[in-house]
Every structure is written in C-alpha cells, then in structure tokens.
Symmetry: C2
Subunit: 213 residues, 2 copies
DNA sequence: ATTTTAACAGACTGACCAGTCGGTTAAAGA
DNA sequence: TCTTTAACCGACTGGTCAGTCTGTTAAAAT
C-alpha cells in the first residue's frame, strides 16, 4: 500500500471539498489539513489556489473531449455517433462526477488566462456536437424541425444536469441512466424512418451492455 | 419617473452582480455603491448578505411553482400539462434569467435554514413534474419505457440549462426556444398514438403565439 | 410643535484567509 | 563523503470584507 504523491492527494481532497462546499467556502488551510500536507507542500505543487482549480477543470475537459472525438471516429453515421457520444458522456459520471460539478459550478472563479484555455476546449466539444447534429439533419436521419444549436444545447443540458442530482446510492445505476438518456435523445431527434431503420442497431449496441431493468 | 425603493434597487443590482461574478466575488460594499445606497441602507433592509441571497431565491421559486400549478390546473391531459409546464418554464427566462442563474449557481451558499426553506419549494416543483409524467404514463399518453424520475430530471436539465447559454441578443428568441424545447420533449415522451392524436392540439396551442421562423 | 421612529449614511473593527518566507529533511548527484 | 536540490513544514503578514455602531435626516404620529 504505497502512499499517493502529495499532489494527487491534494487534488482528490480538494475535488470533494469543492464539490460539497464550493470553491470559495474551502480554504487552503482546510485542503492541506485534510490531505495530510502543509501550506509549504501545497504551494510547492501549485502556484496558487487558482491553479489547483484549473488542474481539476483541465483533467475533465481533456478526458471528455477525447471521448467525443473517439465516438465520432469509431462510428460513421450521425445516429450511431450521437448515441455513443451521449452514452459515453453519461457513463463518465461514474468516475468524474466531482470534476463535472466543479467544472460547471466554479468555472466563473478561474482567472482569465486559465478560463480562456478551458473555454477553448469547451468550445471544441460544443462544435463537435453541432457538427454531429448538423450532419444528422443533412443526411436525413435527424428531424429538420429542430435547429442545430438549440437541439445541441438541449442535449448538453439534459446530460450535464445529471451532476445536480445523481447519487451513487440512487435507484438507477449510471449505465441505466445512460440507456434512458440515449433513448430520450434518439426519440427526440430521429425521423420516423431513421427511427425504424436504426431500431435494430440500437438494440445491438445496448445488448453489449447490461440491459435495463 | 419615481425613484425605486432602496430594497428593490439593492435586489436588482445584486442580481446582476451575482449573476456575472458569483455571490462570493461580490462585496456588500460594491452592491451598495452600485445601487446608490450605503452600508446602513443595506443592513436596514436586510439582516445579512445571506438574507439578500435568500430573497432572490425565494422570489424565483415562488413564481415558477405558481406557474407550474397553474399549468396543471388549467389543462386536464398530461400531454397538455407537460407542454404548458415546459413552455411556461422556458418563457420565464425572459424575466427571470438572472434569478435562475443565481438560484442554480449560488444555492450552496445559503445558510441552513434558508436552504431548507428553498429546498422544500424546490421539492414541490419536482414532485409536480413526477406526478405529471406518472399520470402521462398511466393513461398511456407517454411511453412507458422511460422511468418517471429520470425522464423528469432530463426535462429539468434541458430547460434549466438554458441559463448557461441564453443571451437576449442571440439568434433565437425565448419564444422560439420554448417552442423547440416543447417539440423535443413531446417527441421524446409521447407514444406514437398520442403523438398523432395531439398533433392538432399542439398546432392549436402554438398558433396562439408567434410561429417559429 | 414636539416626540418618535423609520430610513438611511459612512467610518471603523475584528475575523478570516491566500500567499510568503525562512527554515528542515531526505533523496539524488558528483 | 560532501553538495545540491526537491519536497515539504508552519508561523506570520497584509489585504479584504461582512457586519457594527454612532450618528443624521425626515416623515409620521400625537
């Protein structure tokens, strides 16, 4: 049982504290106390409290951006790509729920340079979704009544909001929630024709995982 | 052009400041300066900075709870009620966007008693949505594959998230966004049969408002 | 007209907290 | 072995900020 490096311990502790109490309500003194280090240890590993916040942000956005790009490259129809993107996003909560909470609750408190850096990656993620929906509408798989941006933001909202209520101890597992969300999204965006055509595909994809119930 | 009462001026100013910079990054000194009053004026009208935050929270949740109850009472099928609830929620952004932002970003910083009070009303709103979806499934209008709670939270997520991106100066008006969101929600939850049956109803409801495009 | 009280004004204070700085320890290089 | 440097320690500081307190003004009450 090797002891984790100080930097990791600080990040792990801070994550949980930020999630529960918010960035401003957590003092550096408390972080160092609960992670078993000291002011010296903290400022040796981080330039500032800000930099710690940035580290948390960056590790999350980098991970999820990678997942989205992966989903895009692994499949070749908009329906499959959307399905996989939504699914992988929700599945991510299992590991990254505290990151997501901090990401969406505390990004306001990043200093300018850090914020801009995060914003760039966040925009890339957004653009990927826009393109995905756009291509879906263009090829006739997605309904053209629903505009690209609004639909994308609706999907983001639905999935992101999970951080506000998901508990590991809850009635539904992450996998189940992911399945329900993909179901809702696909029903909302697919045309009737595409819906019937891809019915079997979605069944195939789902059957690789545990089924709902 | 009568001057607004001090209390109102403080609330209006604080709302915009909290929205832009977050509760902790806004000092009481700044609020009193920008609202043209003084420390004395502030603490005459509010017991604490906390109480001001509570006031903002309460005015919003009271308003939206009222709207939801109204939507429930004015209509008598789950489909119509859901349609109206989603619509009225999104429409509310026109007036209450800063309130919503503060409500969802800063509620963590409410002191316990205030928080519990808000939480009670928030739960009532949630329960209303649960009941609505439940009744929709029970009477066969809504698809039974999608569980009540998850579906409700998905709808909340979609609509609430609007505060993260909506700008008055944006491409789409609130009314248009509301129409698109109801479209997405209804497509996601209605059964094929209910969808065809209520098609004309939704058209009727929409035509009372400006149409999209 | 006089008293009372509500509605402010603004200087001041005490607590809190991010970041500093002069140390110490121990591992790695030479 | 001796030196260097990375990794830490924790007392201290300087600035910030919510809330207080001693007033002042003017409207309402009697």
């Amino acid at each position: 049982m090797k002891k984790k490096p100080t930097k990791e311990r600080i990040i792990d502790t801070a994550l949980l504290l930020f999630e529960e109490y918010g960035f401003h309500a957590v003092t550096v003194d408390r972080i160092v106390k609960e992670s078993g280090t000291s002011k010296g240890g903290f400022y040796h590993n981080f330039k500032s409290k800000d930099e710690l916040l940035y580290t948390v942000h960056d590790s999350f956005i980098t991970y999820i951006l990678d997942k989205a790009e992966d989903a895009y490259n692994r499949y070749d129809t908009p329906a499959e790509r959307l399905y996989e993107t939504v699914k992988s996003f929700v599945m991510m909560f299992e590991l990254y729920r505290p990151h997501v909470t901090v990401f969406y609750q505390e990004s306001l408190y990043l200093s300018k340079e850090y914020f801009d850096n995060i914003k760039r990656k966040r925009n890339r993620y957004k653009q990927m979704m826009f393109r995905l929906v756009e291509e879906g509408i263009a090829c006739g798989e997605f309904r053209k009544e629903i505009p690209v941006q609004i639909t994308s933001m609706a999907i983001f909202g639905m999935t992101n909001w999970t951080y506000k209520w998901y508990k590991e101890t809850g009635e539904y597992s992450i996998k189940e929630i992911a399945n329900i969300y993909t179901d809702i999204v696909m029903n909302a965006v697919l045309t009737k024709e595409a819906s019937m055509k891809t019915e079997y595909v979605r069944f195939f994809l789902s059957s690789n995982q545990d089924s709902i119930v």
